[in-house]
C-alpha cells in the first residue's frame, strides 16, 4: 500500500464492522441469558462459574486466538470445518473474547437489583415473557455497558484476529491486523490512516451508546 488508499480503507473498515458486529451479536445472544441465569439464582458451584467468568473477562485475546488456532487448524478438533483463516473463525474467536465480558456485566446488573425482585414481579402474576421484558428493561444500563465493553474489546484486539484470520488481503484483513502489517512494512501513513478510522469507530460507538445510556438515566 503506497500512500492512503481510501477504497481499501473502506473495504477493511466494512469487513471489520461485519466481523466485530457478528461477534458482538453472538456474544450478546450467548452471554445475556447466561448472565441473567447466574445473576438471579444460587446453585451449587455458582462461585466457581462466576470466578471462571471473571477470569475470562481478563483473558488475553492472543491466548484465545492460540486456543482457536489449535482447534481450527487442519490437525485440530475442528480442522475439517475450514474455520482457520476465515471470517467465521475470526467471529468465533472474537465471540469467545466477548462472551465473558457480557456475562460478567449482565450478572453484575442483575445482582444489583433488589434481592427479591423476581419474586415481587412473579407475585403480580406477570407471565414469563413479560417478566423477561421487565428484567431487560431494568438492567438496560448494564446491558449497554456490556455492549460497550464487548465491542471495545473485540474492535481493538489483534492477537486472535491475526492468528485465526491470518490477515489475508480481501479475506480476513481487518483494521487491527492491517495497522500491524502496514507498521511492519514502514507504511506509517497508511497505518495512521487506518488507526484514525479505528479510533473514530471506537469513539463513535462508545459515544452513541453513552448518549443512549445518559438519555435513559434522565427519563
Amino acid at each position: 500500500m503506497s500512500g492512503v488508499d481510501l477504497d481499501l480503507i473502506a473495504e477493511i473498515t466494512l469487513r471489520t464492522l461485519w466481523v466485530c458486529g457478528s461477534a458482538l451479536v453472538a456474544a450478546l445472544a450467548i452471554g445475556i441469558p447466561i448472565g441473567i441465569a447466574l445473576g438471579g439464582r444460587g446453585f451449587a458451584g455458582r462461585g466457581l462459574v462466576v470466578s471462571s467468568v471473571n477470569a475470562g473477562m481478563g483473558a488475553p485475546p492472543v491466548v484465545v486466538g492460540l486456543g482457536c488456532y489449535i482447534l481450527f487448524s487442519r490437525s485440530g478438533l475442528f480442522g475439517g470445518v475450514g474455520l482457520i483463516y476465515s471470517q467465521s473463525g475470526m467471529i468465533i474467536a472474537q465471540t469467545l473474547i466477548a462472551v465473558p465480558l457480557v456475562i460478567g456485566i449482565t450478572l453484575a446488573a442483575v445482582g444489583a437489583l433488589d434481592e427479591e425482585w423476581d419474586l415481587q414481579v412473579r407475585t403480580l402474576g406477570i407471565g414469563r415473557g413479560w417478566r423477561l421484558w421487565l428484567l431487560l428493561r431494568e438492567i438496560r444500563m448494564g446491558l449497554l455497558a456490556a455492549v460497550i465493553a464487548a465491542l471495545g474489546g473485540i474492535l481493538s484486539e489483534v492477537g486472535a484476529s491475526q492468528m485465526v484470520g491470518g490477515n489475508l488481503a480481501g479475506e480476513t484483513r481487518v483494521l487491527t491486523t492491517a495497522i500491524m502489517m502496514e507498521t511492519r512494512m514502514g507504511n506509517f501513513e497508511s497505518a495512521l490512516g487506518l488507526a484514525a478510522v479505528l479510533i473514530g469507530l471506537t469513539f463513535l460507538v462508545a459515544g452513541m451508546l453513552t448518549a443512549v445510556q445518559q438519555s435513559g438515566r434522565i427519563r
Binding site: 419474586l119 415481587q120 407475585t123 403480580l124 406477570i126 413479560w130 421487565l134 428493561r137
Partner: protein, 360 residues
C-alpha cells in the same frame, strides 16, 4: 374490624409444610390448617424469626418447598406486597400499569383500574413522577396501588406500616381499611405494630418457631391466649403466677403473693397453680369510684407518654404491672413515680389457666 358475617373462603392452606435451608441453619414451617375469607383481615403475629414472612410467601406460592396442593385458592389473583417493595424504573404510572402486563383487558378498563388504584392510595398526583424519587411512604402506597390494580381475591401484606411515621401509618391504615371494605378482598397481614393490627384485624393467628400456635377471632386470641408466650405476643403484658385459694360463686381467687389476690371468672380447682394474664387496658388504678375488684397496692415506678396514652409501670413486691391511662387527663397528670396506688380488675377481664408445662 368488621361485624359482617363470615365471607366465602378465598384461600385455604391445609397441611402446609415449608423447609428452608439445611443443617443447623435450617428452618421449617408447619401449618395444619388456615383459611382466608373474603372481606376479612387476618393478622399474623409472632416474634422475629417465627416464620411470618415465610408463611406469607408460602401462601403466595413463592416457596418452592411447599407442596402445590397444600394451598388452594378460588378465582382471582393472589398477590403479596413485600416488606421492602421494589419499584421499576420509570414513572409511578408505569409501575402500576406494569402489573397489568400481558392481561387481556380493554384499554378503557385498564385505564379505569389504574386511575382507581392511584386514587385509592392518594398517589394520582404522583403519576408522572419517577418512582425512584418517591419517599418510603409513597413507595408503600405505590406497592398497594400496584397490588389493588390487579383486583386481587387475596392480598398478602408483609409489614405494610414498616418505617412509616405515626401520621403515615394512620393515613395508610385508613386508606387500606377503606380499600379492603370496598373490594371484599381477603387479607393476611404480618405486622409488628400491635395497635395497627388490632385496628384492622378480624382474626389473629400467632406463629412461634414455625408453628401456628393459636388462631381465632380477634378478641378470642387477645383475651384468651393459650400460653403466656402467646399472651406476651398479643400484648397481654401483665403476667403472674399464683395458686387458687378460694372460690365464691362464679369467681376464683388466685393468690400471687401474701395479701395480693386476683379474682377471675376462669373455672379453676382450689389449690391448683395457675398463670394469670391481664391486658394493660384492663388493669385499673382504683380511685374509689368502683369499677372492678380491688386486688392490692403497688408503687408507681415510671410514667411514659407518647402524647395519646401514658404507660404506667407499677411494682408490688417482686411483681411488675403495666397499665395505660389517657395522657394529659386525671390520674395521668397527677401521678408521680413513687406514689402508692390501689389496683383493681373486673374478674371477667382476668384470664387464668392452670400451669402444666408452661411457665410465665
Amino acid at each position: 374490624m368488621r361485624n359482617a358475617p363470615l365471607g366465602r373462603v378465598a384461600l385455604a392452606a391445609k397441611g402446609l409444610r415449608c423447609q428452608l435451608g439445611s443443617g443447623s441453619s435450617s428452618f421449617s414451617l408447619e401449618v395444619a390448617s388456615l383459611d382466608l375469607r373474603a372481606g376479612e383481615v387476618l393478622v399474623i403475629l409472632g416474634p422475629n424469626g417465627a416464620g411470618k414472612s415465610t408463611l406469607l410467601r408460602a401462601l403466595a406460592g413463592l416457596e418452592r418447598s411447599v407442596d402445590r396442593n397444600a394451598v388452594q385458592h378460588g378465582p382471582g389473583p393472589v398477590t403479596l406486597v413485600f416488606q421492602r417493595p421494589a419499584t421499576f424504573s420509570g414513572s409511578v404510572l408505569f409501575n402500576v400499569r406494569a402489573a397489568l402486563l400481558g392481561r387481556r383487558l380493554p384499554e378503557v378498563e385498564r385505564r379505569d383500574r389504574i386511575a382507581r388504584a392511584l386514587d385509592r392510595f392518594d398517589i394520582a398526583h404522583l403519576a408522572d413522577h419517577n418512582a425512584r424519587t418517591l419517599s418510603g411512604g409513597e413507595i408503600r402506597r405505590l406497592a398497594l396501588a400496584r397490588a389493588f390494580v390487579l383486583e386481587p381475591a387475596v392480598l398478602l401484606l408483609d409489614e405494610p406500616f414498616d418505617d412509616l411515621d405515626a401520621e403515615g401509618q394512620r393515613q395508610l391504615s385508613l386508606d387500606l381499611q377503606l380499600a379492603i371494605a370496598e373490594t371484599d378482598v381477603a387479607v393476611a397481614m404480618v405486622t409488628h405494630d400491635l395497635r395497627r393490627a388490632l385496628l384492622l384485624a378480624d382474626r389473629i393467628a400467632v406463629l412461634m418457631r414455625g408453628e401456628l400456635v393459636q388462631h381465632g377471632l380477634r378478641d378470642e386470641v387477645l383475651l384468651r391466649p393459650d400460653t403466656p408466650e402467646i399472651a406476651r405476643t398479643v400484648g397481654m403484658t401483665n403476667l403472674v403466677t399464683g395458686h387458687v385459694v378460694r372460690r365464691t360463686n362464679e369467681i376464683c381467687w388466685i393468690e400471687i403473693s401474701e395479701g395480693f389476690e386476683i379474682p377471675t371468672t376462669a373455672d379453676l380447682e382450689i389449690g391448683c397453680n395457675a398463670w394469670v394474664g391481664i391486658r394493660p387496658e384492663h388493669l385499673k388504678l382504683d380511685i374509689g369510684r368502683g369499677g372492678g375488684q380491688p386486688i392490692g397496692k403497688a408503687n408507681v415506678e415510671s410514667l411514659v407518654s407518647d402524647g395519646l396514652a401514658t404507660v404506667v409501670r407499677l411494682r408490688s413486691r417482686d411483681q411488675t404491672f403495666t397499665t395505660h391511662l389517657l395522657s394529659g387527663r386525671g390520674l395521668a397528670r397527677r401521678l408521680r413515680p413513687g406514689d402508692v396506688v390501689s389496683l383493681a380488675v373486673e374478674p371477667d377481664n382476668v384470664h387464668a389457666r392452670p400451669i402444666d408445662s408452661e411457665g410465665v
